[in-house]
C-alpha cells in the first residue's frame, strides 16, 4: 500500500508552549488509522497542525506533496476533510446548506446534488431535517452532519477529532459503523483521534499511541487491543 500521509518530526506551539515534541507517523492509502492518547496528549494539536491551524515545524507530506506553509483552505483543496472538535456546525444555516458548504470547492454541480442524496441515504435523519437550522440539531445529529459535510468534499483523507465526544453509546456505535462503511466502500482514508480507545481499536486497522506530544507506540490495531500490558499502561481499560 502506498503512503498517503507522512508526518515527520512534527513540533507544534501554542504561543510559548510547545505541545508536540517531534512526532512522526504515516498513514497508508485506504487505511483507517487511529491516534490514541489521554487528555492533553496532543491528539487534537496533531490534526490541527496537519491543516496548518496551529504554528508548527517539521515535515507534513500528503501524497508526496509538502503541506507546510499552505493556508488551511488550500490544504482542504488537496482533498483533506477535517471534522473538528465541537463539530464546527454552521448553526445559523440549514442542514442542506451545511452540506452544500462541504462541497463549496467542487465545480461538478450534478455530482454535488447526487452526493447530497447519498448523504441522506447514509444519514436518514439529516433528510428529515434538511430545511431545519443546523443549530437545532441534537449533538449526535450534528456529528452526523459534520461527517456528511466532510464527505461532501469527496475527500481522499478524512481527519476526525473525537467523533464520539458527548454522544450516547448507541449513537457512537452507529456512527462508527458508518465510518467503517465509508472507509471500505468509498475508499476514503480516515485518521481518527479518540479517547474511547476500545471502540477506536475495534474499528481501525492501524493505531498510534501518543503521550505528551510524542508517539510512544504503534502497530496493528488488533495487536494493540490484544496486548494487555499496553492497554493497561496507556489506554486505561
Amino acid at each position: 500500500m502506498t503512503t498517503l500521509l507522512n508526518v515527520k518530526d512534527l513540533r507544534a506551539y501554542y504561543g510559548q508552549v510547545q505541545a508536540l515534541h517531534g512526532l512522526s507517523f504515516s498513514l497508508s492509502e485506504g487505511s483507517l488509522t487511529t491516534l490514541l492518547g489521554a487528555n492533553g496528549a496532543g491528539k487534537t494539536t496533531t490534526l490541527r497542525a496537519i491543516c496548518n491551524m496551529v504554528r508548527s515545524t517539521g515535515g507534513i507530506e500528503f501524497d508526496g506533496k509538502p503541506l507546510n506553509h499552505r493556508s488551511t483552505e488550500s490544504i482542504v483543496r488537496f482533498g483533506i476533510a477535517h471534522v473538528p472538535q465541537g463539530r464546527g456546525t454552521f448553526t445559523t444555516m440549514t442542514v442542506e446548506e451545511n452540506l452544500q458548504l462541504g462541497a463549496i470547492t467542487r465545480k461538478d454541480n450534478a455530482g454535488i446534488i447526487s452526493d447530497i442524496e447519498r448523504m441522506y441515504a447514509h444519514f436518514p435523519v439529516l433528510k428529515q431535517r434538511h430545511t431545519q437550522q443546523a443549530g437545532t440539531l441534537s449533538g449526535g445529529e450534528q456529528q452526523m452532519l459534520a461527517v456528511a459535510r466532510a464527505l461532501m468534499l469527496r475527500p481522499r483523507l478524512m481527519l476526525l477529532d473525537e467523533p464520539s465526544f458527548g454522544l450516547a453509546p448507541l449513537v457512537v456505535r452507529d456512527l462508527f459503523r458508518i465510518l467503517g462503511k465509508i472507509n471500505r466502500e468509498d475508499k476514503v482514508s480516515i485518521l481518527v483521534v479518540e479517547q474511547n480507545a476500545q471502540l477506536a481499536l475495534e474499528l481501525a486497522d492501524h493505531a498510534y499511541v501518543i503521550e505528551t506530544g510524542r508517539i510512544v507506540m504503534s502497530g496493528n490495531a488488533k495487536d494493540i487491543a490484544n496486548n494487555e500490558e499496553i492497554r493497561k499502561s496507556y489506554l486505561g481499560y
Binding site: K43, T44, Q85, G86, E162, F165, G166, Q195
Partner: protein, 338 residues
C-alpha cells in the same frame, strides 16, 4: 489537547485580562506619583490646566475601563454620565452655593443612580445593541439639557458659568495649581478604589461575567445585579470626572457633552489598553494632545492626520499601552538576567 469543551462558545468581545495585569507594580506607581506631584512646580499655569484636564479625562476613561474592561459591557453613552456629573456640580454651586468639594460626592451618587437605572434595560442587550442603546443616550442628553422647562436650572443652550475655587487656608498657590492638586487627590483616591474593587469579590464577579456569562451565572454570580452595578460604578466615576471637568473649565453647556466626547473616551480606552487601568491616563493623553498635534501638522487635513496617527498607534500596538508596558517588563526582566 482534548479539552473537554462540547461547544465552542462565542468568544467574548473583550479579551480576558488577568486581575494582576490590570494594575502597575508598586515601584512604578510611586515613580509616576512622584512625577505627578512635582511637575506643577516647574511649568506654566496653562500647562497645569492641561495636566488637570489630562487627569480628568483619565478618570473618565478609567470609568469606561471598569465597565468594558471589567465587566465586558460596551458603552458609547459615557458623555451622558459625564454631562450629568458636570451639571450636578454647576447647578449646586451656582444655584445653591454648595461648596465645590461637596458637589463631587453628590454628583457621584446621582450618576450612580442614573447609571444603575440605565443598566436595567441594558441588561437584555449586548454587543451592537448595547452600543446603539448607549449611543441613543449620548445623543439624547444634550437635547434633554436644552429642554425648556429645565432652562431655569440649566441655563438652556447658553449653559452655566462655574466659579473657579481659590486655594484654601491661604495657601500660596494659583487657582490652577490648587485645582490640579485637588484633582490629583480625587483621581488617586478613585484609582485606588477601582483597583481594590476589581480585586474584590465584586471585581471577580465582573470579570467572570466578562469572560463567560453563562458559566458565571452557573457559579452563582448574580449576573443582573453585577452588570447593573458595573454600570452604576462606571457612571458614578464618570460623573465625578464631569464635576471636576465643570470646575476646571468653569463652564457647562449642552453641546460640550455630545457623542464626540463619548467617542473620544472610547478611543482613549482602546489606546490605553482595554482592561488595563493605568493605561487610562495614556489614553487620555492621546485624546487630548493628538488632535492638537494633528492640527499643528495640517490645519485643513487635521481630521485625516488624526485618523492616520490613530491607525499608526493601533497597528503598532493593537492592545494599546498595556502592550507597551508588557514589552517593557519583559525587556527589564531580560536586562536583570544578564
Amino acid at each position: 489537547m482534548s479539552a473537554a469543551e462540547d461547544v465552542v462558545t462565542e468568544a467574548p468581545a473583550v479579551e480576558a485580562v488577568p486581575k494582576r495585569a490590570m494594575t502597575l507594580g508598586t515601584g512604578t506607581s510611586l515613580l509616576v506619583l512622584a512625577a505627578l506631584l512635582i511637575m506643577p512646580v516647574f511649568v506654566k499655569n496653562f500647562i497645569i490646566f492641561q495636566m488637570t484636564m489630562l487627569l480628568i479625562y483619565g478618570l473618565a476613561v478609567l470609568a469606561l475601563n471598569i465597565l468594558t474592561g471589567g465587566s465586558g459591557q460596551f458603552s458609547l453613552g459615557q458623555s451622558a454620565f459625564y454631562a450629568v456629573g458636570a451639571y450636578t456640580t454647576a447647578v449646586l454651586m451656582e444655584h445653591f452655593n454648595v461648596n465645590y468639594a461637596l458637589t463631587l460626592p453628590i454628583a457621584g451618587v446621582v450618576c450612580f443612580a442614573f447609571g444603575f437605572l440605565f443598566g436595567q434595560p441594558a441588561l437584555r442587550l449586548s454587543g451592537v445593541y448595547l452600543a446603539l442603546a448607549t449611543f441613543a443616550l449620548a445623543t439624547a442628553m444634550p437635547q434633554l439639557l436644552k429642554l425648556n422647562f429645565l432652562e431655569h436650572w440649566t441655563g438652556g443652550v447658553q449653559g452655566l458659568v462655574v466659579t473657579k475655587p481659590d486655594a484654601p487656608f491661604g495657601l500660596p498657590m494659583s487657582q490652577d495649581m490648587w485645582l490640579y492638586y485637588f484633582t490629583l487627590v480625587v483621581v488617586i483616591a478613585i484609582y485606588i478604589f477601582s483597583v481594590n474593587l476589581l480585586r474584590s469579590r465584586s471585581g471577580r464577579a465582573f470579570m467572570a461575567i466578562r469572560d463567560n456569562e453563562i458559566a458565571a451565572s452557573a457559579m452563582g454570580v448574580d449576573v443582573a445585579l453585577y452588570k447593573t452595578l458595573a454600570f452604576g460604578v462606571s457612571a458614578a466615576v464618570t460623573g465625578v470626572a464631569g464635576s471636576l471637568g465643570a470646575i476646571a473649565v468653569q463652564f457647562v453647556a449642552p453641546d460640550s457633552y455630545t457623542i464626540t466626547l463619548a467617542i473620544s473616551l472610547f478611543l482613549g480606552m482602546v489606546v490605553g489598553g482595554v482592561g488595563w487601568l493605568p493605561g487610562s491616563i495614556v489614553g487620555a493623553a492621546f485624546i487630548i494632545f493628538v488632535p492638537n498635534i494633528a492640527e499643528g501638522i495640517s490645519k485643513g487635513l487635521s481630521g485625516a492626520v488624526f485618523g492616520v496617527l490613530l491607525f499608526l498607534v493601533i497597528y503598532l500596538v493593537p492592545h494599546g499601552a498595556r502592550q507597551v508596558a508588557i514589552l517593557g517588563q519583559q525587556f527589564a526582566g531580560k536586562l536583570r538576567k544578564n
